[in-house]
């Protein structure tokens, strides 16, 4: 039986260099990835982590910071890395929805 995989194709009016920067620079990812930072020294075999800070985990009186990380071993294949990042984004979005609801930017009726 085949393993499930998720493939998503998009076309963006930009240069490969700027897109590469957007995928690997944590200040950049924080802006579009709903506060998620990528952290790595981007060497093949190095650890790689996605870090979300400042998410209030529940509506309880005390606020806790939920941080989650994903690790993988970098492969030399950029497309595989990109696929993994998109896949990880899906997981993160799912876990956020379950734990703390939709991100404010995506909540109906919020301006």
């Amino acid at each position: 039986m085949r393993k499930p995989e998720f493939i998503y194709v998009s076309y963006i009016e930009t240069t490969p260099e700027r897109l590469w920067e957007a995928l690997t620079n944590s200040a950049f990812t924080k802006r579009y990835w709903f506060d998620t930072e990528v952290r790595s020294d981007w060497k093949v075999g190095s650890p790689f982590a996605l870090v979300m800070g400042h998410f209030r985990a529940t509506g309880k009186s005390h606020t806790s910071i939920a941080t989650c990380s994903f690790h993988l071993t970098l492969t030399e294949s950029a497309s595989r890395l990109l696929r993994f990042i998109v896949f990880a984004a899906q997981l993160i979005c799912q876990s956020i929805r379950h734990r703390v609801g939709l991100h404010p930017h995506l909540q109906p009726g919020r301006s």
């Binding site: 076309y11 930017h105 995506l106 909540q107 109906p108 009726g109």
Partner: protein, 151 residues
């Protein structure tokens, strides 16, 4: 075995009404759909077609018309080499998410191993990326070169 289907979801910063217009107005589709104009009376059962430079490229009939939530039509590519393939179906579902609209395009009833499935799998990402660009920036994507043309 399940029939092949193609599902693509994207989030666009626009209103359901503007997105609806973008899907159903020929002047609009011509800008982001690489020159293809859509035309129809947009009543359930009525015909619709896409044409480029007065040549019909896609035709079919309207299956669902529920502005600004759901649009569905049959899909018959008019290319002679695709004429033998079954009539497939395209459905657009629009869901408001605050200032963003979630757009899901489902293309099903496709022939297994058919050329239409291959063509639309490559085509929808281009069309929908251009649609998103047009609605968010006022400009569709510029013309693209084929991969073979890249250095």
């Amino acid at each position: 075995m399940s029939k092949p289907e193609f599902i693509y979801t994207t989030y666009i910063e626009t209103t359901p009404e503007k997105l609806w217009l973008a899907l159903t107005d020929g002047d609009f589709t011509e800008r982001y759909w690489f020159g293809h104009r859509v035309a129809s009376a947009w009543e359930i059962g009525s015909p619709y077609k896409f044409s480029k430079q007065d040549e019909t490229t896609i035709a079919g009939k309207v299956l669902a018309f529920e502005p600004p939530k759901r649009l569905s039509y049959t899909w018959d590519n008019q290319k002679t080499d695709l004429k033998h393939e079954r009539s497939s179906r395209v459905t657009f579902d629009l869901e408001p998410r605050g200032k963003v609209v979630k757009l899901t395009v489902t293309h099903d009833n496709l022939d297994e191993g058919g050329k239409t499935f291959r063509d639309i799998s490559g085509g929808w990402p281009m069309v929908l990326a251009s649609l998103k660009s047009l609605l968010e920036t006022g400009q569709p994507l510029p013309p693209m070169s084929s991969p073979a043309a890249q250095g």
